[in-house]
């Protein structure tokens, strides 16, 4: 069994951009937003991050919390194919842009590959077997969080956090912004980030049907961000790119 302090440490490792799982290659739409002039400075960036957190960030947090819940109950040697594929299908239904699905699965595949070596566990083995082409990133993150001893709330926090830190650091590089100013923006998002993680966990509680461990994931948050979808598709058509997405 893992104690709560082990979960804290694992959450820090999972949220750290230095985790060697390829997260640094993705800007979460920020690169294209900079290219088309939708982000020109810290004020636009603040609004971009707040909107991203309230939509894609919240959805990722809920999916990660759900995946952590599944991962925490996987027994040694069990396959759990149905539960993983059902949750992964819920992620698909919430990601209408093919470019974003591709980016999400690429990151999920790399994250599972990396974290299986750091925290070998039935949770990650069963996810890799159930979704061999790469699970969606938040699903992979939640499974890794479970493997590392995190609770669903910690998985949700890590997902919400990475949903804004990746575009924030990308914007620093792309626009040459003052990194301290941008970290101030991230610090200002702390209450919203906590709210997103709480909302994600509340939706998890609402999803319980019948006995414990029986979940209907259909009601998890599904907040859409049409501008992010447009940016993601445009980004694929842009010739010179620093970031994959």
């Amino acid at each position: 069994m893992h104690g709560p302090s082990q979960g804290d440490m694992a959450m820090l490792l999972l949220a750290d951009s230095r985790l060697p799982a390829g997260g640094h290659a993705h800007s979460g739409g920020a690169e294209e937003a900079v290219r088309v002039g939708a982000i020109t400075g810290p004020e636009d960036l603040a609004r971009f991050l707040r909107g991203r957190l309230a939509t894609a960030g919240l959805v990722s947090a809920a999916l990660a919390a759900a995946a952590c819940e599944i991962g925490s109950s996987v027994e040694e040697g069990s396959r759990e194919v149905a539960r993983w594929t059902r949750l992964d299908a819920e992620a698909d239904a919430r990601t209408s842009s093919p470019a974003q699905r591709e980016a999400s699965r690429t990151q999920g595949r790399l994250l599972v590959r990396t974290t299986r070596r750091i925290w070998p566990s039935p949770a990650l083995d069963s996810l890799a077997a159930a979704v061999p082409d790469g699970a969606h990133h938040p699903v992979a993150l939640g499974a890794a969080a479970a493997a590392a001893g995190c609770a669903p709330h910690q998985a949700a926090l890590a997902a919400a956090y990475t949903s804004v830190t990746a575009p924030a650091t990308a914007a620093v590089r792309l626009l040459g912004l003052d990194p301290v100013t941008v970290h101030r923006l991230l610090a200002d998002l702390a209450p919203a980030l906590n709210d997103a993680a709480h909302a994600a966990c509340a939706s998890l509680i609402d999803s319980v049907v019948g006995q414990e461990n029986h979940h209907d994931w259909s009601a998890l948050p599904a907040h859409a961000a049409p501008a992010l979808d447009l940016l993601a598709e445009q980004h694929l058509r842009t010739e010179v790119r620093l970031f994959v997405s």
């Binding site: 939509t55 239904a93 209408s96 501008a227 979808d229």
Partner: protein, 262 residues
Amino acid sequence: MSRTTTRPAPDTLHPARAAVRAHAAIATTLDGGATRLTTLRSDPPLTLRQTGPTTVHLVATAAGPLGGDHLELDLDVAAGTTLTVCSVAGTLVLPGPGTSVLTVRARVDEGASLRFAPEPTVLAAGCAHRSRVRLSLAEDATVLWREEIVFGRYGERPGRCHSRFDATVAGTPLLRQEFTVGDPATDDSPAVYGEARCVGSTLLTRARPESSHLAEGCAVLPLAGPGTLVSALAPDAVRLRERLEWGEQVALQSRFGGSSLP
């Protein structure tokens, strides 16, 4: 609720009235190879008029919805039948003593075809609105489902709206999406609506291009499941409709079988 600051000027076309609960329904059956509308139940303010053999128009017979109204519409499209639902005019969502709630449930059976394309929903200043759509489709159901939301009348800041759309095909999720309008976190965010004043989307099934298509303010997005989402943002309702219709045409060109409806 600060009614004095958020409530718009009295509207002569839409005089105030008490909150209502209404439940309207449309159902089709297959009768000798042809579609017959067997249920056409109006419940004001949701008034239904049959305007063609398989076409029904929603006709607003009262203002609203107003805050506090609870409106429900059930559509049941039986196997092999066809139904088109339109509306005569846009829906103007007005403030009232509570939240207005609109729930639409639609079931489209095997080989059936549904086109749902009402005029836009306009969120007047001070409104508080929730809309919930649940679409249950059989594997080979043919659907075009369009929704358009306009953020306030001309020059007006919108009230609050939360919409949720869930479509499943044979029980498997195809598309789930929520929109929140009137929330400072999302309203002016370049990640969500940017500078747009309208958001719209059309879900099409049995139409799925090989890859996505893109034009200004509009994306044609092949979904992971058997369908396509046309997603658009625009500065006004006219351009929103143009963008969605362009995207629908692009998606429909991929639909083989030569079906002309929807």
